[in-house]
């Protein structure tokens, strides 16, 4: 045994490596991205035979892994919860077809949400897809459960879902690793069309199998050591919980001096361990459910009580006792539990009202080329005096919505900028409809939208913000970068050649930091019909080196235009003038290009 201080995502990665994983695929998404990165970083030392890739999107990741699992490989697929929507087409069918090698699909949920579009719950998805799901409460448990998930997957020949939440993914703890890691040698693909080719008749039979498996798994999970019934004789009022809420509940109970309250902890929410639960509920009057996102445990308890005719009152989200949305916390659970148990409410510490706090929304970095791209479009359309709409997408460039740029009118999901713009255009016949898509998103899910526009002859301006990386999630490589996660160099896919092949009506490639050229290009594109592509090409500041910094001379008349129009975080008002913070300025020159008195000058070349 060796102990390492690991982030939950690292623990998941090492758990998979120690369980003999052969193939790891995924698509970046907070809070899941570090899992695959850890595999890539550690595989050389741990097990050089492991193959790892960032796939082009979650659907591709799942399918690549499925193929490998058909051939007997142990596979791990990683994504965030909304990525599971993208992967749901193959997933729903794969649940019927099954796998040979163990397959664990990590879909990280994000209560809050902290960095996501939705608060959807992978546990609900698991029930929908008829797939078992594990729900760890800490990095240590995540490490252990990954091994259990692989074993279960192979035993039942089914993909298994694994859903950590942000606080497990991004929490760190000492994790004890086994010194006897498993290794798996894939048997190879064995042709068997009756098994690997999905057909209605086979699906009917498989559906029956899935339903029957549920009962079998209930029994198995009722005996799973991480599904626990604690203090069963501790009274008639109990608490149920799962995931990170288990840690919160434990702490809240300690603080309330109520450690002896009966506690049911569910680590496998689907199929639900009903036998364990019914036995636990037998002598209870009331149970309070602490869980985040959907009332999954709560519903299962109600079902359980119904089936076993147990007169237990179930309190949770469904009856309005617990909050419907957002994260749980020790404090909030402590209050809810105290009320439930009839204990005195812990008193809140009240301090004097603080002074008004500055709001601090996330912003595009100083020197971010997206700022220049958005501003060029904004300026061009203002100068043309034409009505325009701006459809955005998921990535750092979603931050183009903030003042002063205010350049994102819509944002829905990955790839939707291209297609929402088309729908808007069908109604708004006199508006120029722009779509903004990043390079990674373009490859992930933008291309089919472009085909749709070309095919249907819809007029849009497709703006590709090509900064040569997947910036928001931590700068992962993608098909346009020429690097793979195996550390190999590979052919760079050319966005312009893809667009040409798709048949866009015009194509312009500009450096957004050259504002005059960029504004001209936007104006020219705006004046045309068809699918006009504009590629704004300039690297993210995180993957390049600054070449200069800029400074403000005494010629500054304090008009504030740079601050007001561009909002670069390096520019700050100082008294009657503006100052540039030298530690932040990346030397993009954008502000200098718009200063009416030429007061912003290049200072030092780095």
């Amino acid at each position: 045994m060796s102990t390492e201080f690991l982030m939950g995502n690292e623990a998941i990665a090492l758990g998979a490596l120690d369980a003999g994983v052969n193939v790891v695929t995924g698509y970046p998404g907070t809070p899941s991205s570090e899992i695959l990165e850890t595999v890539a970083r550690r595989r050389e030392k741990e097990n050089p035979d492991v193959y790892v890739e960032w796939s082009v999107n979650e659907k591709a990741a799942l399918e690549v892994a499925a193929g490998a699992a058909y051939a007997g490989a142990r596979t791990l697929v990683t994504m965030k919860q909304v990525g599971l929507n993208v992967a749901s087409d193959p997933l729903m069918s794969l649940a019927y077809v099954g796998v040979k090698g163990g397959m664990v699909i990590v879909s990280a949920d994000d209560p809050g949400p902290i960095s996501s579009q939705t608060e959807q719950d992978t546990r609900t998805f698991a029930a929908f897809a008829h797939l078992p799901v594990f729900d760890p409460s800490s990095p240590e448990e995540a490490y252990r459960m990954i091994g259990d998930a692989f074993a279960l997957s192979e035993q039942y020949g089914t993909p298994v879902l694994f859903r950590p939440t942000t606080r497990v993914c991004h929490g760190c703890a000492p994790v004890e690793r086994t010194d006897k890691p498993l290794r798996n040698t894939p048997e190879g693909f064995v042709r068997d069309p009756a098994r690997w080719v999905i057909f209605p008749r086979a699906s009917y039979l498989n559906h029956i199998k899935l339903a029957n498996r549920e009962r079998e798994l209930d029994e198995k999970f009722s005996a799973y050591p991480l599904n626990t019934a604690e203090n069963t004789a501790g009274g008639r009022r109990a608490i149920a919980c799962g995931g990170i809420s288990y840690a919160y509940v434990k702490e809240a109970l300690e603080q309330l001096g109520a450690e002896n309250v009966p506690l049911l902890r569910i680590a496998t929410p689907y199929p639900f361990p009903e036998q364990l639960t019914s036995a636990f509920l037998r002598d209870k009057d009331e149970i309070l459910v602490a869980e985040e996102l959907d009332p999954v445990i709560e519903r299962a308890l109600l079902l359980c009580c119904g089936r076993a005719h147990l007169p237990v009152t179930v309190r949770g989200k469904l009856d309005g006792t617990m909050p419907q949305a957002g994260e749980n916390s020790v404090e909030q659970l402590r209050t809810a539990i105290a009320a439930f148990l009839g204990l005195p409410a812990p008193k809140a510490e009240n301090r004097a009202e603080p002074p008004a706090l500055p709001v601090r929304p996330p912003v595009l970095c100083a020197g971010c080329p997206h700022r220049a791209s958005f501003y060029a479009v904004k300026r061009a359309m203002k100068e043309l005096g034409q009505k325009a709409y701006f459809c955005g997408d998921i990535g750092c460039y979603t931050l183009g919505n903030a003042a002063p740029l205010d350049m994102v009118d819509t944002c829905l999901c990955m790839g939707a900028d291209v297609t929402i713009a088309q729908g808007l255009r069908r109604v708004e016949k006199d508006a120029v409809c722009f779509s903004f898509i990043g390079d990674s998103t373009f490859f992930a899910s933008g291309m089919t939208g472009v085909v749709n526009a070309v095919y249907n002859g819809t007029d849009i301006v497709l703006t590709v913000l090509d900064n040569s990386t997947t910036a928001m999630t931590g700068h992962q490589p993608h098909p346009g970068t020429g690097r793979t996660m195996m550390g190999e160099m590979t052919a760079k896919l050319s966005i312009e050649r893809v667009l040409e092949a798709l048949g866009v009506s015009s194509l312009r490639i500009v450096d957004p930091l050259d504002q005059a050229a960029a504004v001209d290009a936007v104006k020219a594109a705006a004046g045309e019909r068809g699918v006009r592509a504009l590629i704004f090409r300039s690297p993210c500041i995180a993957v390049t080196k600054p070449n200069a910094t800029y400074t403000v001379t005494d010629a500054c008349i304090g008009c504030g235009k740079c601050v007001r129009e561009l909002g670069c975080p390096a520019t700050v008002r100082q008294g009657k003038q503006v100052r540039i913070d030298p530690a932040l300025c990346f030397g993009c020159s954008l502000c200098a290009q718009y200063c009416p008195t030429g007061a912003i000058v290049k200072k030092e070349v780095r």
Partner: protein, 194 residues
């Protein structure tokens, strides 16, 4: 150490809170203690508010510190320290950098934010408050990158961190790449001499 110790680090994305929390965790683990931490990773790292929770002791459940129970607050920025003050317990210690970071929104609206109100409020509210003269330290050490280690050193000088300056030095030597040793050890020495 009998009791668990909870340390909250807060600042603005890009200020180095994560590295600081890693150093505390490492030093504590070296001392044989259990550690749990929790970090802000994602969109907030682009100049938003970031918070790291560090909990050290013998038996820790939650990776997040409940409000009103942090023993130590390391504020990398005055307003962020105020924002997170509800986490600090009565009688806890706060070590706060004097240098304000103006959010883009303040610059835009022309409203000035200079951190002074925040420091006054902190002085009224916190029994054990240490304000760090950040600008001076940066000039003396020759780099703005020393803010995080300076905050740690200032906390280590008191008992609040649960780690001595020497343990901090060891953590720097063992955890950071060699090229950063001189700068960070220099900053610890500078703070300890004061």
């Amino acid at each position: 150490m009998e009791q668990n110790r909870s340390i909250l680090l807060c600042g603005v994305g890009g200020q180095g809170t994560v590295l600081a929390s890693k150093l505390i965790a490492y030093a504590a683990m070296r001392g044989g203690l259990e550690v749990r931490t929790s970090e802000t990773i994602g969109m907030a790292q682009r100049g938003g508010c970031v918070v790291s929770h560090v909990r050290v002791g013998h038996h820790i459940n939650s990776p997040l510190i409940p409000r009103g129970s942090a023993d130590l607050l390391l504020g990398f920025e005055p307003a962020e320290a105020v924002r997170c003050l509800p986490y600090l317990r009565r009688g806890g210690t706060a070590v706060v950098s004097r240098a304000p970071i103006s959010p883009v929104t303040a610059s835009l609206s022309g409203s000035s934010y200079n951190g002074a109100d925040m420091l006054t409020y902190l002085a009224e509210q916190v029994e054990n408050l240490i304000i760090l003269d950040t600008e001076e330290i940066i000039v003396a050490c020759g780099s703005p990158r020393v803010l995080n280690i300076a905050l740690l050193a200032a906390a280590a000088k008191t008992d609040a961190l649960g780690i001595t300056p020497d343990e901090l030095r060891a953590a720097v030597r063992e955890r950071l790449p060699e090229k950063f040793h001189a700068l960070n050890l220099g900053a610890i020495d500078y703070i300890c001499r004061r």
